[in-house]
Amino acid sequence: MGISNYQMSSVISLLPEVGLLVLAGVVLTMDVLLKDDRKHLIAVTTAVGSLLIILAALMYSQPSGDLIWGGMVRDDMLAFVFRLAFIFAGGITAMFSIGSKELAHRGDYYAIMLGAVIGMCFMASAADLIMLYLAIETTGIAGYLLAGYVRTDDRSAEAGLKYFLFGAATSAVMLYGFSLLYGLTGETNLGAIAPILASGTVSVSAICAIVVLILVGVGFKIAIVPFHFWAPDVYEGAPSPVTGFISTASKTAGFAVLLRVFIYGLAASEYWLPAMAGLAAVTMTFGNLVALAQTNIKRLLAYSSVAHAGYVLVAFVAYSELGVASAIFYLIAYVVTNLAAFGVVIVFAHTAGTDDIQQYAGMSRRSPYLALAMLVAFLSLAGMPPLAGFFAKFYVFAAAVKADMIWLAFVGVLNAIVGLYYYLVVLKVVYVSPAPDGVGSIDIPATCKIALVVLSLGIILIGTASSPWFNWAMKAAQDLF
C-alpha cells in the first residue's frame, strides 16, 4: 500500500512528537554508553535537541487546522503554540537540571521528562477522549516519577507519592466523566460531542455531572482551589527543576485541555461559566493570601502559581476570542517567567543548599546577575510593566471587562496588588537585607547561565514587543470558535 500525500502530511504534523521520541532514545543510549564524568552531556543533548525540534517544527509542521489521524488529533494553531511552549519548557528544564546534584547525571531522568513532554504535546492537540486520556496519563505518570526521583530524599519520595495519590484519584474521577460523556453521546470525538450536547438530547443534570467530574481531573492538573492541596507539598518536596517543570509545563498542558474540552467539546457554556467565575475568584484570592505567609521560596511560588491559575481562569470565563487569546498569552508569559523564577531558586540552592527565603538575604551582593534575573522574573510575576507579566494581566483583565465581568476584573486587580506585595518582600530580602557573614559568591553553572539569560530576555521581549505574540495567541484562539 502506498503512503498517500494525506498521510505524509499527517506524519509531518507529528514531527515534534516523533523528534522527542527519537531524542529520548538518544538520551537513553547516552545514559547507557557514557562514562559518569561525561553524563552532563545528556542534559546538553536534551536542550539542543529540543531547540532543533522547535526549529524543525516551525519550518515544516505549520498547522493545517484539520482533524488528522482519524480525528484523534487536531492539528491547529492552538495545539501548535502550546506544543512549542512545552518543548521549550522541557529544554530549559534540562539546562537547569545541571544545577541539581541529584539529577544532573541521570540520563533516565531526561528520558522520562521527554516522555512527559510528548504526553503534554498530545494533551494540547488531542481532539478525542481516548487520545486525551492517554496523553494525560502519560504526562501524569512521568510527573509522579519525576517528583519522586531523588530516592535518598524523603521529601522527594513524599512529594512523588502525594502527587501520585492525588493524581490517580482525580484522573479516575475524570475518566468516569469521560465514560458518562461517551455513554450519553455515543461519541468519543470532542468535535462530534459538541453538536449532540447542543441539540438538547442530553439532560442538563447529566451535563452538569460530566462538567464537575471532568473539572476534578483538569482542576488537579492546573491546581485551582479546591484541587490545589497537593501543590505546596509536591512543589516543596520535588527536586527544584521538576517543580519548575510541573508548575509551568504541566499546568499549561492542563489549561490546554481545559480550553479544548470545555470550549470545543462542552460548548454549552451556560452550565459551567458562573461556577468557573466563582472558582477563578476563590483561586486567585486564596493563592495570594496564603502565599503571604510563606517562608520557603518553593512554597511561596507554589501558592503564587495557584493564584496565577486563577488569573488564567478569569480570561477563560470571559469566554470570547479575546479571552482565550489572553489566556494563551498569559500562559506563555507565565511559562517563561516562572521557569526563570525556578531557575534562580535552583541556582541559589546549588550553592547555598537551602530554599529558605531568609537565606536569600544579600543575594544581590553575592551574585548581582542572579539577583537581576530574579528581579526580572519576580517583577514579571507581580505584573510590572514593561515585562511579560504586565501585558499578560492587562489582556486578561481587559477580556474580563469586555465580557461584562467587571467584578471579576476588580477582584483580579486587587489580587495583583496583594501579589505585588509578597514578591516585593522577597526582592527586598535579596536587595536590601545584608548578607550573613562568611558566605561567598554564588556559582552559576554554564547551562543555567544560558537558560537564565534566554528566559530574562524572553520576559523582556514578550513584554516590550507583545503584539506579535498576542497576534499569535489570537490566531490560536480563533481555532476554538
Binding site: I3, Q7, L28, D31, V32
Partner: protein, 118 residues
Amino acid sequence: MAHEWIFIGIILLFGTIFAAVPLVVNTIVAPKKPNVLKNETYECGMETVGDTWIQFKVQYYIFSLVFVIFDVEIVFLFPWAVAYKQLPFFAVVEGVIFIVILAGGLLYAWRKGALDWV
C-alpha cells in the same frame, strides 16, 4: 458470546468442588491426635528457624514490574496479531514500531542491570 463462558464457569465450579471435597472429607474422617512433634512445620527434617515472613529481594519486585509492562504490551499486540493477515503493510509497520519502542525499553533495562539476579 456469554454461553461460551458457561463452560468455563462449569469447569471452575467443578474444579472447586473436586479440590474441596477431599479436603473436607479428610478433615471430617481423619483421626486427630496432635502432639508437639506433629505440629512442627517439618515433622521429620530441619528445625525451622525464625519467622516465615521474611523480606524478599527487591529483584522479585523489579522483575514483576518489568513483567507488568510487557504483559500490557501483549494485550495490545494480541488483537494486532489476530488481525495480522488482513492488515495493510502500513498497519504492520505501526505494530512493528510499537514493538521496537518497547524492545528499546527492554534493551535499556538489560543494559542498566535491572535484569541481573544478584
